[in-house]
């Protein structure tokens, strides 16, 4: 069990590290994808099928593709040779470091704050059915709010992308 966990963790870490260290943005995205897939597999390993597969559908199938498209459209996939040549202490690095530190601090606090036995406890069996029940009963209002929000975003995107000649005619 731990061996599988270690492999998956290694995949995730290598993927995300690659995402940070490659120079070609497309390669970074591909590295990030590997990291995301590794994360999804960690979810699956924990028995959370729904979350794992949703992670792949959303992040690999949509977000990574979207990022790739964005990079391709804006930069043409050109290598960023002029940037990131040497690690320099820049404001961005500072901000990034702070955020990373904060995240790690929170995670560490959460893990250390709990009794260590929690990790070895029996895996909760969460079926898709239960998730559906929860979404449709307890959390139906948040779900609907999210749906409205996303619909609004969708309409906004459509309006933004609409050809502008319509007004001229």
């Amino acid at each position: 069990m731990t061996l599988i966990f270690l492999i998956l963790a290694a995949i995730t870490i290598v993927g995300t590290a690659a995402a940070m260290s490659f120079r070609n943005p497309i390669h970074c995205i591909l590295g990030l994808t590997v990291g995301l897939v590794g994360l999804a597999m960690l979810f699956l390993h924990l028995g959370a099928q729904f979350v794992g597969f949703t992670q792949i559908i959303v992040y690999v199938g949509a977000v990574a593709i979207l990022a790739v498209f964005a990079i391709m459209m804006t930069q043409g996939g050109r290598r960023l040779t002029e940037t990131a040549t040497k690690p320099q202490i820049t404001p961005s690095l500072l901000v990034g470091g702070t955020v990373a530190g904060a995240v790690f601090a929170v995670l560490g606090w959460a893990m250390l704050g709990r009794p260590s036995t929690a990790i070895h406890s029996v895996q909760p069996v969460v079926s898709v059915n239960q998730i559906g029940q929860l979404l449709m009963h307890n959390y139906v209002l948040p779900l609907e709010i999210m749906a409205v929000l996303l619909t609004a975003a969708l309409i906004g995107a459509v309006i933004l992308a609409m050809p502008q000649e319509r007004g001229k005619r």
């Binding site: 391709m72 459209m73 043409g76 996939g77 050109r78 290598r79």
Partner: protein
């Protein structure tokens, strides 16, 4: 737009940054491209997939046809005209023969005129079927309509072979007539082929005409306005699809076309669908002409006996002979200085002139549209580049 010519950095993808607002992708379609109908090239500038600039580049198949003809006897140029528009060698022959006959004042016997009409209209049938097939091929129909078109074309080519000896390079017309008379049984065979043709057209139209995808792809695409078509000198089915009633068979009444009852279909929109449909309808009219011509075919000479085969020297002068080839007005302009070779030989190729307005039809359309617009122009590179 200004930096288009600048070579992109080696490792980048092709979109070269232009004015910062849009990125243009310059794609060279051809000369090796499956749907440029030969060695034709279009330098297309794309914004996304929208064409913002299209530069047709031809000349890859240039063979010096006109200059060769000026160093060749009048008869010797006849087989070369086969190779202009290799789909319609017989109409090419006819246009050339017509101009030489005008130059030398040769009278063509009646039977020969009928034979010319019959073979030329058969040529029109096979050209138009193949064009429709190729157009569908460009639209991605995996060859099915094209194969049906070829199936019918083979029958007509068989007729050509048994009459002229060759399927495509017929070399059939001679000054003052035709080279050979009909072999035994040819007319009956031709009658069966022509009689079966409308049935094939019905099938073909059932396969395609009402097809929603075809309509969506072709209607409103590549619109050519009446004015532009006239100004650009566009001729043939393309011009008629734009709604201009101009068919040399009616205007010039060359040969004996005034003896036949037929109508000229005209389009109202001038888009790809109209160009396709006009050709289909023209085929039906051609079948009518063929039926009448085969019915009325008289007996008699097929060759003006006074015209010499060798040492043919027309009087000094000039002549322009033109016919309605399946692609448009095909004309030959000849200047004779009294020697056995023409002093000047000039072809008016309908394919080339119809191609000149390609960019006007393609601007603002997609790559996919460019391909079918080009397909609907009906070009043969042998004629465009000569």
């Amino acid at each position: 737009m200004t930096t288009l010519a600048e070579a992109p950095p080696k490792s980048t993808l092709s979109p070269s940054a232009s004015n910062g607002d849009t990125q243009l992708l310059e794609v060279s379609m051809g000369p090796q491209h499956p749907s440029t109908h030969g060695v034709f090239r279009m330098d297309v500038s794309l914004d996304g997939e929208t064409v913002v600039k299209l530069k047709p580049i031809f000349g890859y198949l240039h063979r010096n046809h006109e200059k060769i003809a000026e160093n060749e006897t009048y008869l010797g140029s006849m087989p070369y005209t086969d190779r202009l528009d290799y789909f319609c060698s017989i109409t090419n022959n006819w246009a050339y023969a017509l101009s030489v006959e005008t130059l030398a004042g040769i009278v063509v016997p009646e039977r020969a005129e009928y034979l010319r009409v019959i073979t030329a209209e058969l040529t029109r049938l096979q050209n138009h079927t193949c064009l429709a097939g190729f157009l569908m091929q460009d639209m991605g129909a995996s060859g099915t309509p094209l194969m049906y078109a070829f199936r019918e074309r083979e029958k007509i080519l068989d007729l050509f072979e048994s009459l002229t000896g060759a399927r495509m390079m017929c070399n059939y017309m001679r000054f003052g007539g035709c080279r050979v008379d009909l072999p035994a049984g040819w007319l009956e065979q031709a009658k069966t082929v022509v009689a079966a043709f409308p049935k094939f057209l019905d099938e073909f139209e059932a396969l395609l005409n009402g097809n929603e995808i075809l309509m969506a792809r072709t209607q409103g695409v590549g619109v050519l306005s009446k004015e532009l078509a006239i100004n650009a000198g566009v001729t043939g089915p393309m011009l008629r699809a734009s709604g201009v009633n101009y068919d040399l068979r009616k205007v010039d009444k060359y040969g004996i076309y005034d003896r036949f009852q037929f109508r000229i279909p005209l389009g109202d929109h001038g888009d790809v669908y109209d160009r396709y449909m006009i050709r289909v309808l023209e085929m039906r009219e051609s079948v009518k002409i063929l039926e009448q011509a085969m019915r009325d075919l008289p007996e008699g000479l097929i060759q003006d006996p006074k015209t010499k085969v060798r040492n043919f020297k027309p009087k000094p002068g000039e002549a322009y002979g033109r016919i309605e080839s399946p692609k448009g007005e095909l004309g030959f302009y000849l200047v004779s200085d009294g020697t056995p070779r023409p002093y000047r030989f000039r072809v008016r190729p309908p394919s080339l002139i119809n191609l000149t307005i390609l960019e006007d039809m393609c601007l603002g359309r997609n790559v996919a549209d460019v391909v079918i617009i080009l397909g609907s122009v009906d070009i043969v590179m042998g004629e465009v580049d000569r």
